[in-house]
């Protein structure tokens, strides 16, 4: 029960503190590091977006955070400290039985494919009853119905849908039902893995709107993982950008949009053509994401980067604090040698030093 020992808490508001989290896929011959040395802090009620392309490690991070990972994925280092009542638990150390007590109650998850996450042969109401009963065994049948009705109401699903099977609901409704289910036991943290990728743009907007409104009302924090940075810029309070298993930049949404400091972040931001602003030819990011088996020695982004210099080819950059245009000590970090004065980098290109006003 080591992990349950209380640790003095310097920051009341801190809900989740991930330190040095490393996840490897253990293969017979060699292992692949899918998440390397991840540090993340999440405060109560905050929405943290995690953006990255396929293979960047964002889904691996989610399954590690929720301890849902299966072999060959193994957490080989780091801590996931979760504030729970007055203690701080290290999720990495917990046994399955202890985790079970936390699931739904403290940490819940919404997955990309709601069709696969709901039980196809149980009515919606029965699935809510299952979750509610698991965590409050003596709850009465009436309370279950009342609570289910309330939860479905939160996401705008009419009561009579309690009697429906998942296949009778539209994709958007299923996804909203999953969100309601995730909120059933008032968790402090909801982890969302691309919850809107499989739904249409109008439904996506409805779901995002609901997440924001419910967050305001219920005060839960969200880790929201997606490849769609343009969506995160509108939704998240802070955004972490992942590349080749590492966080390469983290900052407020405003800073990531207006003053991206890592060339990859900048390229990713400019990979979304504007909806209203004047059009110009965009080029995306040349090349393809690296193979995690054959990462370059230096910066993993160097082969695709147009600003590389000697240090980029020999040393991997660490996250450094960036002085942003908007404010100074706002936790804006980027892992790019161009911002490390000690290495005497070439002059910073304006696109990585400028601040764009909205």
């Amino acid at each position: 029960m080591n992990a349950l020992a209380s640790v003095p808490d310097p920051d009341d508001d801190l809900l989740l503190d991930v330190r040095g989290l490393t996840v490897e896929y253990a293969m017979a011959e060699r292992s692949v590091t899918a998440c390397a040395d991840i540090d993340l802090q999440l405060h109560r009620g905050e929405i943290l977006g995690v953006a990255g392309e396929s293979g960047s490690g964002k889904s691996t991070l989610i399954t590690a955070l929720t301890r849902l990972q299966r072999p060959p994925a193994v957490t080989t280092a780091g801590q996931i400290l979760l504030q729970y009542e007055n203690r701080r638990l290290d999720l990495v150390q917990l046994e399955e039985k202890q985790l079970r007590a936390l699931r739904w109650n403290t940490v819940s998850i919404v997955l990309q494919s709601a069709m696969d996450a709901l039980n196809p042969v149980m009515r919606l109401g029965a699935q809510f009853a299952d979750v509610l009963r698991e965590h409050e065994p003596r709850i009465s049948a009436d309370s279950i119905v009342a609570r289910t009705r309330e939860l479905l109401g939160l996401v705008g699903i009419p009561d009579n849908r309690m009697r429906s099977y998942p296949h009778e609901l539209s994709g958007g409704m299923r996804q909203r039902a999953m969100i309601a289910l995730a909120l059933a036991c008032n968790p402090g943290l909801v982890v969302m893995d691309e919850p809107t990728t499989a739904v249409d743009v109008v439904m996506q907007r409805q779901i995002i709107g609901q997440i924001l409104r419910l967050r305001q009302r219920l005060g839960f924090a969200v880790v929201f993982v997606t490849h769609d940075l343009s969506l995160l810029l509108e939704l998240a309070d802070r955004i972490a950008i992942m590349y080749a298993g590492r966080i390469v930049e983290i900052g407020t949404s405003a800073d990531i949009y207006a003053a991206p400091r890592h060339p990859y972040t900048r390229g990713l931001r400019d990979s979304f053509p504007p909806l209203h602003a004047p059009l110009q030819k965009l080029s995306g990011i040349p090349g393809t994401p690296p193979d995690l088996n054959e990462l370059p020695v230096g910066c993993p982004f160097e082969p695709r980067c147009t600003h590389g210099f000697d240090a980029c080819r020999s040393d991997r950059p660490e996250l450094l604090s960036i002085r942003s245009g908007s404010s100074q000590a706002n936790g804006h970090l980027a892992a790019c040698h161009l911002h490390d004065a000690r290495l005497q980098p070439p002059a910073l290109p304006t696109e990585l030093s400028a601040h764009v006003d909205r």
Binding site: G156, D200, L233, F272, L275, S283, G284, T288, P289
Partner: protein, 339 residues
């Protein structure tokens, strides 16, 4: 659109497609997938077709590709009606379809070389083995898979998603078509390489004068790539015109909803309020029993009696921009412009 009408490379004229299906209890039903739709693809122009899933975009593309026959209406290739006949090699030599999933559209057991040379041989473009090989290399270079010689001997599983989609496009080009139909060609690709693919399609339009249909649900990419935008809802074509007219001043409530719902990084951080506008709107209808009249009326904040009774006629708004909406017929156009 100019006053002199150019001959369309491929056009659908008032096409309708109904599918007959059996429901769960075995009784027959009709899915009204595409209803009386007209679309023209001109050489050297890209038309974007946008709409939600189930709006009939893919069905329309497949009608254009002659995957299945139209229920009524005409498909014309270079002005010649083709419906009624079974599409053959001659048709596919002109019209090629690119699918969404580059992982599923290449033969996994064969190298890139085979995938390309087969298309060249079937359509009689290669005179000899050496010729097929030379042409394959040239095709790969056209889609920027360089060094082409190396890519020839790769298997699809050795390529990234973007590289695979390039091979798919190269294979479509092998046939030397005049029309390319892209059904969400970039939606399964990584964000950072999507633009590359869009730029490639734009180059094919500009340099080779291909007529292109770009089907997408992503309005921002439609704006980036296309010349004209068509909007479909529940099987009906509800608005079309030059891209910036349609996207910046939508003249149908549904188009406006789509544009407002689309992520726009430039809007970020302004307020949470923008999200509320669409919150209470419903979902696209079931096409077995579509709503009467304008199929958008159950979700439309402007709906009036006429909307339930009949689908409105087309209103021309000038400059090739048109919409099917009763607001224009009733002199209420101004209401659409208010924010």
């Amino acid at each position: 659109m100019s006053t002199v009408e150019a001959t369309a490379a491929l056009e659908a004229i008032n096409v309708t497609k109904h599918f007959h299906v059996r429901d769960s209890v075995g009784s027959g039903a009709t899915v009204h997938a595409v209803e009386n739709v007209t679309l023209r693809l001109l050489p050297g122009r890209i038309v974007a077709l946008v709409g939600e899933s189930g709006s009939g975009k893919t069905t329309l593309a497949r009608l254009l590709a002659q995957f299945y026959p139209v229920t009524s209406g005409d498909v014309r290739l270079h002005g010649q009606p083709v419906s009624g006949k079974r599409a053959g090699k001659d048709y596919f030599r002109q019209v090629q379809l690119i699918f969404q999933d580059p992982f599923g559209s290449l033969h996994p057991g064969h190298r890139v070389r085979y995938n390309l040379e087969r298309a060249l041989r079937i359509h009689g473009h290669a005179k000899s083995r050496a010729d097929a090989r030379d042409q394959s290399i040239e095709l790969l270079e056209r889609v920027s898979l360089i060094p082409a010689r190396e890519f020839l001997d790769k298997f699809p599983h050795e390529l990234s998603g973007g590289q695979r989609q390039r091979v798919v496009i190269a294979r479509a080009l092998a046939v030397q078509p005049s029309v390319l139909l892209g059904d969400e060609p970039i939606s399964m690709l990584d964000v950072s390489i999507r633009l590359d693919m869009l730029n490639l399609l734009a180059r094919l339009r500009d340099e080779e004068g291909l007529a292109l249909l770009y089907i997408t649900h992503d309005i921002a990419s439609a704006r980036y790539l296309s010349d004209d935008v068509h909007v479909m809802y529940a099987g009906q074509m509800i608005e079309a015109g030059p891209k910036d007219e349609v996207i910046q001043t939508p003249m149908h409530p549904y188009t406006r909803l789509l544009v407002e719902a689309s992520p726009d990084p430039g809007r970020a951080g302004r307020s949470d309020g923008v999200f509320d506008e669409t919150a209470m709107l419903g979902e696209p209808p079931n096409l077995v029993n579509p709503p009467s009249g304008c199929r958008f009326h159950p979700r439309c904040p402007f709906a009036m009696d006429e909307c339930r009774k009949a689908f409105p006629d087309r209103t021309d708004l000038g400059n090739g921009h048109w919409a099917h909406c009763w607001l224009h017929q009733k002199g209420r156009t101004a209401e659409l412009r208010t924010t």
